[in-house]
Symmetry: C2
Subunit: 327 residues, 2 copies
């Protein structure tokens, strides 16, 4: 068998894995409603009266937070990938500022846009009730709280921010597929900014225990299988014209850069953003075919975030990408 | 070997397991601070000037939410036990109303007392900013929001509610041990109301991968070992005089009642509260040596919670328990 056959066979295997993943997934409950809100969102953002700030029609799908893998069908146990969702939430703000409309696909309960600098439990930590029984915000948080409430409401109301929540890997991948189909008409104007921490391993739904696993009988042996590499399917089939950015998070720097290079080549990403767990709030390395750029947060003031220069760089490279199609 | 030897050996084995669990656990970071706040809490609640509402000195330790089991030391993956923390948070409110002081040992990010009927994200869902830039609460949630802010602040400020957060099974069990030691002087006046969903299986810290597990090489086989049965240690050694209540949650009713009976006998609990996953907000079965009582929520009004009659029953049985010691 020669190399071309090998590649074809690899593609076939991976296609079968993807099909069987979706066929065996529990059905997405609100699929019709999600499709409807996506259609409205795309209509609004492609009409000429829509986004008029010079970057008309540019849309980014930002995924954020970790996916879970259930260990029992009717169960309480699952494997989770830790992610606060801070990167995705902060990036959403900067993309909105840059004139993009955003589909924010986020893990329920994780960090929301405009809220990333607030305490974990703003209701109990930022508010008090005055003597006249009106509600007051503590001076320290007043500006951030007001900004969070107004900007979030405004972006949702104007139709430039669509929020879609997920919990499990099954929900995440099904919604991501719906989004990619909806954004297809936007061609190169769409970005996939895949900051979510997606499970690598899962237990296929049909081989999962129905009831809660009993703890009486010794150690628990589990075999998890690999989640099919959906990056490849998203890139090549679901949204072949879009600008694709994936993320790599590792705790070991050498493994990190090797894996970032690998993802760039194997999945034909346009950009891989490499994070080291311990320094990820200070700097990231942006890896493309042409360059490796270290992006650092502006450390001359405390509130500066690395997502600000990162999104600037992404917007710049995306503009160049769109130009190639216009030419 | 006769039965007594058997029992002794079992106890020895279990003691060794417990010791080795704690010895191999990562150190609790804020241990000194937690001990200090517990000491202040106990001093305040045992002094004669403290709690003067007829149930002076009664304290309940309520555990709430699920514990996590890390799969990597420097890692991002963990196994989680799902629990919203609603039961523990609502019960805290009713115990405070009944005159108890509460140590609330809760999973970070789960439901907080006085907040259980609010939307998931109260900041973005309940508030708006008026034209004069003051912050307003939507009429629908105004009363609940005000109550949440004032009652939570008041309870913490008065020193009758001490909140201690955890994430991992290692943090949970170390803090629970600190609490049990602190409450020992209260004798039978203390309740342990163990509503947290505690992991049954874990990966011992010393056999855990240091870096993130790589996904390149086929399926992932994991062996998890049982967490030592701490209920038994808590009951017999850490807090032998206290009133102990544990919870059982199952998806299958027959397994549920069998397991509840087993927990009552094996761990000498004073009360086991049996929940079936699908009906747990409507009813629970309270199992003691003498009785099995089904407790239902008052379904004549929408806001009624099953925790209201449940805590009433617990307080009644706890009063009888204390009387036995007074006699």
């Amino acid at each position: 068998m020669d190399a071309v056959d090998d590649a074809n066979q690899l593609r076939e295997t991976s296609k079968n894995e993807v099909m069987s993943f979706f066929e065996s997934s529990p059905l997405l409950k609100d699929a019709a409603e999600i499709e409807k809100s996506l259609k409205e969102f795309v209509d609004r953002n492609t009409s000429s009266s829509g986004n008029l700030n010079g970057k008309a029609n540019r849309v980014v799908c930002i995924t954020s937070g970790g996916t879970t893998v259930p260990l029992e069908k009717q169960g309480v146990r699952y494997i989770d990938n830790f992610s606060s969702g801070h990167r995705g939430a902060a990036s959403t703000e900067y993309f909105l500022k840059a004139g993009y409309s955003v589909v924010f696909l986020y893990r329920r309960g994780t960090c929301q846009p405009f809220c990333s600098s607030l305490p974990d439990d703003p209701l109990l930590e930022c508010f008090s009730v005055a003597d006249d029984s009106s509600i007051e915000v503590d001076a320290l948080h007043a500006e951030t709280v007001k900004r969070a409430i107004t900007e979030n409401r405004a972006a949702v109301a104007e139709g430039i921010l669509l929020k879609l929540p997920f919990t499990t890997i099954f929900e995440y991948l099904q919604i991501l597929r719906l989004i990619s189909v909806s954004l297809r008409d936007l061609g190169p104007s769409a970005i996939f900014f895949l900051a979510a921490a997606v499970s690598d391993f899962y237990i296929p739904w049909e081989s999962m225990a129905f009831h809660k696993i009993q703890s009486a009988s010794g150690p628990l042996d589990m075999r998890l299988v690999q989640v099919p590499k959906m990056l490849s399917v998203l890139r090549n089939e679901w949204a072949p014209m879009a600008f694709h950015i994936s993320f790599k998070l590792e705790t070991d720097r050498d493994i990190l850069l090797a894996n970032a290079d690998m993802a760039l080549k194997k999945y034909k990403m346009h950009m891989v953003i490499a994070n080291e767990l311990s320094t990820r709030k200070e700097e990231v390395i942006v890896v493309t075919e042409q360059e490796k750029v270290t992006v650092r947060r502006d450390n001359t003031w405390a509130g500066a975030e690395v997502e600000c220069p990162l999104v600037e760089l992404v917007v710049d490279r995306h503009s160049a990408y769109i130009k190639k199609f216009d030419a």
